[in-house]
């Protein structure tokens, strides 16, 4: 009689074999970074790499932020049985919603008006409640920051017992996520040769965390921030002409600010899709436009962040394209 060997109840996680027992195990760290991919055509004469943050498990650079925000709340005993409320243009909320779903925690998101429908649907699919908020909701006290003000007032209501707000704009855990993961990844992936780093102004967790880490390795590395125009349509980015500067922004690590308008950002986004086959979102277009025109030396390694993919912005792109790509009979 042939005896059967009892199979183990499940296979163990093996990152080498790309086999995981929990989606959270795909979150990046310096030993398992997101890819750096060179931009070969649209930034001719440069050595520019994009860090493809949309290959994170929940689709954006904010996966890193969300896990640090939640871990911080739990470590400080601030979450407990409370619900989460957060203001987000979508990506942090999506990552928080995914992690909250795994945790059995309810999430309410206050999201600025005008964020693409795709993001709102993704959030609702993940079980989050979405409160779309005009920027000028509180016209007297909170011009252009209505979603943040609304999340704050929800968190403060009912004596603060129902909700806790991670508050990515003021929470140092947001900076720590990038100081401890994104920054070291870039340093290692470029073998310490990175000379310039480009990222957008948003919550400022990325630019502050990565900037601080890279400056500690070599203070001569240039940290360049990208700021959109006022009234822009580049979700995730903020113009400080109309929005409050986040408390976590550390100007001391920033060498330069490049302003990019919407047409330039969208034109570069289209070129990245068509010339590099990089299906990125519009904030990546803004970042690459800034880097391509920055006057980098050809052999100077530069890294730009690609925060998310363009698949969450197809309704925006449909407007951009108009009749382009349709048969003209």
């Amino acid at each position: 009689m042939i005896s059967r060997v009892e199979a183990p109840p499940h296979l163990t996680t093996d990152r080498q074999a790309q086999r995981y027992n929990d989606i959270r195990e795909l979150l990046p760290d310096p030993d398992h970074p997101t890819p750096l991919v060179r931009v070969n055509r649209v930034a001719a004469g440069t050595t520019l790499y994009l860090k493809l943050e949309w290959l994170n498990p929940f689709g954006s650079i904010k996966d890193r932020t969300a896990v640090y925000l939640l871990d911080g709340l739990q470590a400080r005993g601030e979450l407990g049985d409370r619900e989460l409320v957060e203001a987000s243009s979508g990506n942090t909320a999506i990552a928080l919603a995914a992690l909250a779903a795994l945790n059995g925690t309810k999430l309410t998101v206050t999201i600025p008006e005008g964020v693409p429908e795709e993001k709102k649907v993704v959030l609702r699919m993940l079980g989050a409640e979405v409160w779309e908020t005009p920027d000028d909701l509180c016209p007297v006290d909170h011009p252009k920051d209505g979603a943040i003000a609304l999340a704050r007032s929800l968190a403060a209501g009912q004596g603060g017992v129902r909700y806790v707000m991670p508050n990515q704009y003021e929470n140092p855990d947001n900076v720590a996520a990038h100081y401890e993961t994104t920054g070291p990844e870039i340093w290692r992936q470029t073998e310490g040769r990175v000379r310039a780093f480009f990222a957008g102004f948003g919550t400022c967790g990325t630019i502050t965390g990565v900037g601080r880490y890279l400056k500690e390795q070599d203070p001569t590395i240039k940290i360049v921030a990208i700021e959109p125009q006022q009234g822009h349509r580049l979700p995730g980015l903020k113009s400080f002409g109309e929005a409050k500067q986040p408390g976590i922004l550390d100007w001391s690590v920033i060498d330069d600010v490049v302003r990019v308008d919407d047409p330039a950002a969208y034109d570069m986004t289209k070129r990245l899709w068509r010339e590099e086959a990089l299906m990125v979102g519009p904030s990546t277009g803004a970042i690459v436009h800034a880097a391509a025109g920055y006057g980098l030396d050809p052999d100077e390694v530069a890294v730009g962040v690609s925060p998310d993919s363009g698949l969450k912005y197809t309704s925006y792109f449909a407007e951009l394209l108009g009749e382009e790509g349709l048969p003209q009979l």
């Binding site: 000028d136 003000a149 009912q158």
Partner: protein, 82 residues
């Protein structure tokens, strides 16, 4: 002689801080018909500035404000273009 205001719907946002009263009021006004009236009760003193500004921005008419110290009551008539 005072004119009678016919209230269509009442909303009490007592204990809630701005901008939540504005947000909730806007949601109710959205489902009202032009000419219908929302009676809104607030306790956040900021409402005295924010609610008139909201009504102006939305194209609604603030018929009356009653500042009772601890509470503020607003009567807002939905506009034709809001």
């Amino acid at each position: 002689m005072t004119t009678q205001i016919n209230v269509t719907e009442s909303l009490d946002t007592s204990g809630v801080l701005c901008p939540l009263p504005v947000y909730k009021a806007a949601l109710v006004l959205k489902r009202l018909q032009p000419g219908q009236v929302l009676e809104l009760t607030c306790t956040d003193p900021g409402s005295l500035a924010d609610i008139p500004a909201m009504a102006r921005q939305r194209g609604d008419t603030l018929l009356k404000t009653d500042d009772r110290g601890e509470t503020q009551v607003f009567w807002i008539e939905k506009g034709t273009s809001s």
